[in-house]
Amino acid sequence: MTLTAISRRRLLKVGAAGLAASALPFGIARAQTNVVLGIVYVGPKDDFGWNQAHAVSVESLKALPGITVVEEENVPETDAVAKSMESMINLDGANLILATSFGYYNPFVVELAKKYPDVTFRHAAPLWNKDKDPANAGSYFPYLNQAHYVNGVAAGLSSGGKIGFVAAKPIPSVLSNINSALLGARSVNPNATVQVIFTGEWSLPVREAEATNALVDAGCEVITCHVDSPKVVIETAEGRGVKTAGHNASQAPLAPKGFITGAEYKWETIYKSYADDIAAGKTPPNFLVGGYNNDMLRTTPYGAGATPEAIAAADAAIAALVAGAPIYKGTLKDNAGNVVVDKDYDNYDPYLDGMTWLLEGVQGSIT
């Protein structure tokens, strides 16, 4: 395996050198910059989840002229990712690096961005800070919590309102998905609750299955999750005869009986806009966020688990989100009794990015 990797690298290197040589001596002004897009995944790119959502979007870019895609999967959140990104820059000539896992950002993306100021780095979590971090780095992140809110609405009307949530790590974006699912469910059923179990890792199939079983045993009627690959959670819940709501990519085929709907990313909207900007010689935005209002999210087509009222209410919720209706509004307490929301927050308010609380109605703890 190492041998083929080396020869592929060599081939690309020679090819890149040849390209550079052919471009240099004549100095013809090019109308467009070719985009070499390097993307690193933390897991396999067909995992029914986070990585698959990215890979499917990048796949759709490959057909476009002027874009070359270099991919590497199964890259751990260690020094290994720095090496992968550096080799994409030096050997493959990448001018746009997309780092798709949370732990890639600091220190790896930050340090490399300082070292290679001509390369554009974008990282898939809202971590870029314009005061501290290099100008050629940046963040992009669709606010999936909007789609989890819709999941909550549909789940709340497709069940008695007891939702189980298998979560990986207590970082703000995960917490926001949990809280939004609760608020969605409470918007249609004031007694709805969300019970959360943290597994502590992004992908740990056996513990995810254990967590799902524990939630079903605790009486949850709908199971949803935020882990990298929801396949095991959805299949285990379907096997236990409870309903499910998906995450990251479409899991509808895994649960023919109980699938309600799912929260999905639409990364291609972002990746296409980056590639267009670089091709046109512009700097892509450093901080790009979005949701239903700018076509960065989608909801999985409703499955057999969704009741007609749930479908109607979920569609209405999407329409409201497109119009900018806030999710976190009024006065809300966390599950320790402290007031954490005291006014209506815009769905992209920076305050919500630093969320470290679970709302009242969520059973669980972040430590």
């Binding site: 396999p44 056996v206 299955a209 045993d217 096997g239």
Partner: protein, 305 residues
């Protein structure tokens, strides 16, 4: 609170039954191999490759038990390869084991790509707890036949190591290669067969992962369970019966983290999730220090020589 305690205990019972089987099979396979005087650290590779092959064969043939058999076959292949390479002069079995681990997982990832997406037929469970009328208990007592096969196998191995000619030959090869040679036993052949048979069992363990619990094939499926099972063998002092208890304990400890969160004890889940590893360390420190423990170690193992 009483009720909550019952929930946790039931969850741990269920966890022990659900999670322990792969540990059991890998540990039994490793016990057999180590009893013959060789260490095969590569069983993680057998486990992952077994999981992949089982899922693929079950998907393509529509018969889950055929998948289990094929997984065993893939385990024999890796085990036999390890056994053959270690027969060559001046080869270190631990180093070969690490190579086989990478080889097995690499092979599984490479050939397993097309099988991540499809859904294959799974193994069925035997509902042993329906009479209790308690849904949680009934769920915990959904037992896969392989669990009983593992226990029966352990009892058989325990008996065979003491009472059969084959069992005694394996033990002799493991304790003193010189005596085995003097008896006219081919040491290399015995170790080759023991490693291949051990590989077979580890492959079956993999089939359980992909075809029953958690019951799907993906690259993170094993997450080091094969390695932990090899450590369990030392913890179980090369005794097949103790391997069963070690595997059950490990499974129950693994269920502790999620089930405590499910009853509302949600603080410190990182600590509870680490429970199986902490438990293993503590028991290892207590058990491995004694003089009696030193007697259980097969004399020919390269770590003790």
């Amino acid at each position: 609170m009483d009720n909550a305690l019952v929930t946790v205990l039931i969850a741990m019972l269920g966890g022990a039954i659900r999670v322990s089987t792969p540990f059991m099979f890998v540990a039994l396979g490793e016990t057999l191999t180590e009893k013959s005087g060789r260490i095969n650290l590569g069983l993680e590779g057998n486990l992952v490759l077994g999981a992949m092959v089982a899922y693929a064969v079950s998907y393509l043939s529509g018969n889950a038990w055929l998948g289990v058999l094929a997984a065993g076959g893939s385990g024999i292949f890796l085990g036999a390869l390890h056994g053959y390479i270690c027969k060559l002069p001046r080869v270190n079995d631990i180093a070969v084991g690490i190579a086989m681990m990478s080889f097995g997982t690499g092979l599984a990832f490479f050939f397993g790509k097309p099988f991540i997406q499809p859904t294959a037929p799974r193994l069925d469970a035997i509902p042993l707890g329906d009479w209790t009328g308690n849904p949680a208990l009934a769920q915990a007592l959904q037992v896969n036949p392989l669990f009983f096969v593992g226990i029966a196998l352990a009892v058989f191995m325990f008996w065979a190591f003491r009472n059969t000619r084959w069992g005694l030959i394996v033990r002799m090869t493991g304790d003193s290669a010189a005596s085995a040679k003097a008896m006219g036993v081919s040491v290399d052949l015995v170790r080759f067969l023991a490693t291949a048979a051990g590989g077979f069992l580890a492959g079956i363990g993999g089939a359980f992962l992909s075809l029953y619990y958690p019951g799907s094939w993906n690259q993170g499926l094993s997450s080091g369970q094969g390695l932990m099972a090899v450590a369990l063998v030392i913890f179980a002092r090369w005794d097949p019966i103790k391997c069963i208890f070690a595997a059950l304990l490990f499974g129950a400890a693994g269920a502790l983290g999620p089930s405590l969160q499910s009853i509302g004890i949600s603080q410190g889940y990182y600590f509870f999730n680490a429970a199986p590893y902490i438990l293993t360390l503590i028991i290892m420190i207590i058990s491995a220090g004694s003089k009696a423990a030193a007697r259980d170690v097969p004399g020919e193992l390269s770590i003790t020589k």
